[in-house]
């Protein structure tokens, strides 16, 4: 099903100097958590990364290595302790309006129906209600939640809540989309289906996507580049170009080239000693 991108495209009027090639710039980023009661934790150390406009980047790394932390800093939710982060030439110190995010936990509002939850970003940014209601409906249908629009979050299964969270991040068609394990609670089949749909939406809309995932094949299938993080504190172990032609379909994953990428990333994990 085709989800029409709304005509509006976030007013990302970048300063003339910003090249489309360095749409997101992360420069020597450090992050240390300093809880009041306990010892500090170094979560990210010296992260350097530049993302092109319209690029699809995946971030993989062992649990607890700082992936969520990285996304939260990009989203302007969490202060960094060192380095610089810029999106479209602007320093990220607070959330930017052109950024959408799928959270690791669904985080729906229990007092809103699923439909109204999905409409939250459109409501916040006061976007044309009629058009976005239509889009929300289409997105919900895409993820198989038709019939559940008027239910409340606690009446949905874990995976269904996560799908609603994905719809919410897509409804206002953000220029930059940050996704934190959006498909973690989905069965393998639904997940593959959602991968395909996401690719389609991305191709139609020219979004810049940063996806955190635990599935290496998923990362390879979707991305232009895969960023591999080392265990905590997260450092960039490798940034791998995925040289598979687009548009891709799931069949490509059985190709040798894809297998090589998957194996190479896997080896990083093993090298880092993540698994026995």
């Amino acid at each position: 099903m085709a989800i029409k991108a709304t005509a509006r495209r976030a007013q990302t009027q970048a300063p003339a100097s910003v090249s489309e090639d360095s749409w997101i710039e992360i420069d020597g980023l450090d992050k240390e958590y300093r809880p009041r009661k306990s010892a500090p934790t170094l979560a990210l150390s010296d992260i350097n990364l530049t993302v092109r406009r319209g690029e699809f980047i995946s971030v993989v790394g062992p649990s607890g290595c700082g992936k969520t932390t990285l996304l939260k800093i990009l989203a302007g939710l969490s202060p960094k302790t060192g380095g610089a982060v810029r999106i479209a030439g602007r320093d990220v110190t607070k959330p930017l309006p052109e950024v959408g995010m799928v959270f690791q936990a669904p985080t729906l509002l229990p007092w809103r129906t699923i439909f109204d939850n999905v409409m939250v970003p459109a409501e916040i940014q006061r976007l044309d209600p009629r058009r976005h209601r239509e889009r929300a409906q289409q997105l919900l249908e895409m993820v198989g939640l038709n019939g559940f629009e008027q239910k409340y979050p606690h009446e949905l299964s874990g995976g269904m809540q996560q799908r609603a969270g994905i719809c919410r991040a897509l409804v206002h068609d953000p220029a930059v989309l940050l996704m934190d394990e959006p498909f973690g609670a989905l069965d393998a089949m639904t997940r593959e289906y959602m991968n395909v749909e996401l690719l389609r939406i991305w191709q139609e809309s020219n979004q810049t996507i940063v996806l955190v995932t635990h599935s290496i094949p998923e990362a390879v299938f979707l991305s232009d580049r895969v960023v591999v993080l080392s265990p905590r504190p997260g450092r960039i172990a490798e940034v791998m170009d995925i040289d598979l032609e687009r548009p891709r379909d799931l069949g490509i994953m059985s190709s040798d080239r894809a297998g090589v990428y998957v194996e190479r990333i896997r080896r990083h994990f093993n090298a880092a000693g993540v698994i026995d």
Partner: protein
């Protein structure tokens, strides 16, 4: 891979089927239907015979029967209804003002930390002052009429509401606020979409305390200087040594409080419905 699309259109359309099932009526499931009246009868009987057995004198605690008789007489009296409406009006107005002010101020205080540090001490300090002692000031500033009683009711219902509003607005889930923040929500939007709904249980606790105290405040305000109202009627019956009449007025006040309480609880069920549905069946 096949090109069916059953995630979109699940194989079983009747997913959410039919309409909510009617629950059948069962007295065992709603024991309050007989327990509440039973307890009422027991309380009244205990009062009636306890007064006699404990040797409490009727002029200190009158028998329920005399109170009911006196109540009956009062209810037939137009003047009584005049008093009743005056107090109702004072209490409601005071409640709305007090609770409204607490909402506004509580919002400020909870959002802007510095406002709390500078204002809260004065609010607490003012609250600890017995308002009766300020009666002269109240009268000087607000006159002998309705206003001074409304102010009294407002002032006393203000504080419990304020504390609960502040605490409630703070109780909002950090994750939900983060979520809204990412989507560019302003403080006002975060307030409306997350903080306020999260605070509802606190707010309703505040309203519940507030309405009861507003009635109390109006009555105390009438003690200080009034020509009408149930508080005045209390003084009058007491002055006339009509203790049964005084208790009849107290009963009316209690009923006012009860009705207000139930209205607020009903509103809560309506407005904070999601809290109901998430209750665990097992626990």
């Amino acid at each position: 891979m096949a090109t069916s699309n059953l995630v979109r259109k699940p194989a079983q359309p009747p997913a959410p089927s039919a309409r909510p099932a009617r629950r059948k009526f069962d007295l065992r499931e709603k024991p309050q239907l007989w327990l509440v009246p039973t307890v009422f009868v027991v309380v009244v009987l205990a009062w009636e015979y306890g007064v006699q057995l404990l040797g409490v004198d009727e002029y200190v605690l009158p028998l329920p029967s005399s109170v009911v008789e006196s109540l009956w007489q009062q209810l037939g009296d137009d003047q009584f209804w005049g008093h009743f409406w005056v107090t109702t009006q004072e209490a409601l107005l005071g409640f709305v003002i007090g609770v409204g002010a607490a909402l506004v101020l509580g919002t400020f205080i909870s959002q802007i930390k510095i406002v709390e540090a500078t204002l809260m001490p004065y609010i607490v300090a003012f609250q600890t002052v017995p308002k009766v002692a300020l009666a002269p000031l109240f009268v000087v500033w607000f006159g002998f009429g309705l206003t001074s009683k409304v102010v009294m009711a407002a002032v006393i219902s203000f504080f419990p509401m304020l504390v609960n509003v502040i605490e409630g607005l703070r109780a909002a889930d950090a994750d939900k606020i983060q979520m809204l923040t990412v989507f560019g929500a302003s403080k006002a939007q975060i307030f409306r979409m997350v903080r306020l709904p999260s605070a509802l249980p606190f707010i309703f606790a505040g309203l519940d305390i507030g309405i009861v105290f507003a009635i109390l405040g109006a009555v105390v305000g009438e003690f200080i200087g009034a020509k009408e109202g149930l508080g005045y009627l209390l003084l009058q019956t007491n002055y006339n040594f009509d203790i049964a009449g005084m208790f009849a007025v107290l009963v009316v006040l209690s009923l006012m409080g009860l009705v207000a309480h139930f209205v607020i609880r009903l509103l809560q069920k309506r407005l904070a419905f999601w809290a109901e549905d998430t209750k665990v069946i097992g626990a």
